[in-house]
């Protein structure tokens, strides 16, 4: 297809426009995060960086103990991701490489979990977690999320594409199931694991409702709740400080995103195939 010069220019104009629409709120946030309260409120609005950068970031960091919140979010996101990957790998291995009684039934049960997102069971889930004494603890934010139908299905699909000959060959070599799992299957699944990790990490990092209910002390809050805490604690809407907090808290998932963009794309592609 041949493009004329006009079409190329039009394409770029439209794309730049789209980029602007999508990026503008964040660009603004970054600019505002450098401005003092007076600069934010000046009329007409200043759209250039201001003079209060260090102050704002410092204040945002200290007011709601953002470091601690980011640490919490990080611990939770990483632990959930690791647990989910391990459990899904194991159950996918069971479903693909073994024949056993009740297989269909177990598979069906995993399927059913797709129908039970947190809000559907939140009333009693809260009681269960409370019963374990896990309210306001890492355990309450991590362990209930370890089982994943999505992860299991993803790995089942991946495992199915592994050539049958590999099993037969390894069986000939006297390889036991778990040896086969660790030596042959896992290395072949690396990129799928990577993709699931990135997606799960961001999903958990961005979670809001459950951490809001399951934590209550300032030291156990996560970064998403921190944003609202920051907005409430800034007694007079000092947007410079709030936006500094916003910028800090979106950095980890963004960095992850830009560094592992390809894993992302793969993860996305896999998701839609489940």
């Amino acid at each position: 297809m041949i493009q004329t010069r006009f079409q190329t220019i039009r394409l770029h104009t439209l794309l730049i426009l789209a980029v602007l629409i999508i990026c503008l709120p964040v660009i603004l946030a970054i600019i505002i995060s450098t401005q003092s309260e007076a600069q934010v409120l000046s009329y007409p609005p200043r759209l250039i960086p201001g003079s209060s950068t260090i102050d704002n970031y410092n204040k945002a960091w200290r007011t709601v103990n953002l470091g601690r919140l980011m640490f919490n979010s990080g611990v939770i996101a990483i632990s959930v991701t690791i647990g989910k990957v391990i459990l899904s790998l194991l159950s996918a291995f069971a479903f693909t490489h073994f024949e056993f009684k009740g297989k269909q039934f177990f598979f069906f049960l995993i399927l059913v979990t797709l129908l039970l997102p947190v809000p559907v069971r939140i009333v009693a889930l809260f009681d269960v977690v409370r019963g374990f004494g896990w309210i306001d603890s890492y355990a309450g934010l991590i362990i209930p999320f370890w089982a994943s139908a999505t992860g299991t299905f993803l790995f089942i699909q991946r495992f199915k594409t592994v050539p049958v000959e590999l099993i037969d060959a390894s069986r000939m070599d006297g390889c036991r199931p778990m040896q086969y799992f660790f030596r042959i299957l896992l290395p072949l699944t690396k990129s799928t694991i990577g993709a699931l990790c990135v997606i799960e990490f961001i999903y958990i990092w961005n979670q809001y409702l459950w951490p809001l209910m399951a934590t209550n002390s300032d030291s156990m809050r996560v970064v998403q709740i921190g944003i609202k805490m920051l907005m409430n604690s800034e007694s007079s809407n000092n947007w410079g400080v709030i936006m500094a907090g916003v910028v800090i808290s979106m950095l980890p998932p963004l960095l992850l995103f830009f560094v592992l963009q390809d894993s992302f794309m793969k993860g996305f592609a896999l998701q839609s195939e489940k």
């Binding site: 069971a94 049960l109 797709l114 009693a124 889930l125």
Partner: protein, 289 residues
Amino acid sequence: MKSSSFKNPLLPYVLLIPTFLILVVFLFYPAFETFRLSLFKVHPYSGAERFAGFYNFKKIFTNPEYLSSFWRSLVFAVTVVIIGLMFSLFVAVLLNQKARGMKLYRSFLIWPYALSPAIAGALFNFLFNPANGLIGYFTGVRTWLTDSSTAMFIIIIAAVWKNLGYNIVFYLTALRNVPTSALEAAAIDGAGPVRRFFSITFTYLSPITFFLMVMNTTYAYFACFGLIDVLTEGGPAGSTQILIYQLYKDFFVHSKIGYAAAESLILFLLVVGITMLQFQTTEKKVHYQ
């Protein structure tokens, strides 16, 4: 499943134990318990239960607040899906052209995926806030979030904006899989680019469109909680109170446990409906491949 498998009577169960332990304790039991509680009146302090039959459901369906929240959520989801998908498809088509710098454009167009709904809420709060929002300064209209006829509009824009990156990626991947041969054949038949798009490309995109509809609907129903909590807390006058926010308040703030459990059951039925749609799409997709 696999024709060749290991022979070990115990190992598969051992492998499944961790997953099912979690499933039973944190999914099946709480879900069952929630559904059971929907049939009870629960004392807000002691937790004492009294069987109440369908009392809670009767309350729900005669509560005009809940009903309007039900329709509001539906309108919200449908709008987010339509606007979101149209805009992302448009951008994806642009991105699918051959020109310089496409990879860079792509990066800058899909990264909002990594942002959270709560962050989207904070950003839009800054833009539209009635005391000192930026858009208020520019337009002279400052009631964006305090007027019940415009607040939902802002929530929709914010929700669509946040999910653009996600939608664009999927459309882009799908567009790349449209066989060029089919397009070329149509071009030879004299079809213009617009007709080519709607007659050929769009057909190939329909499975992914269906998938995205389902994902965006779930997003609008559940994940937008953080966005609303940061931006409007369901106000003004309840005009942005969607079902999930209603559930949060009834359960967590007002301790109406039986009533909230009944609300959960209704959400469950919605999820069942959406998931059935999803399975249907998966089958359709198989047909196309």
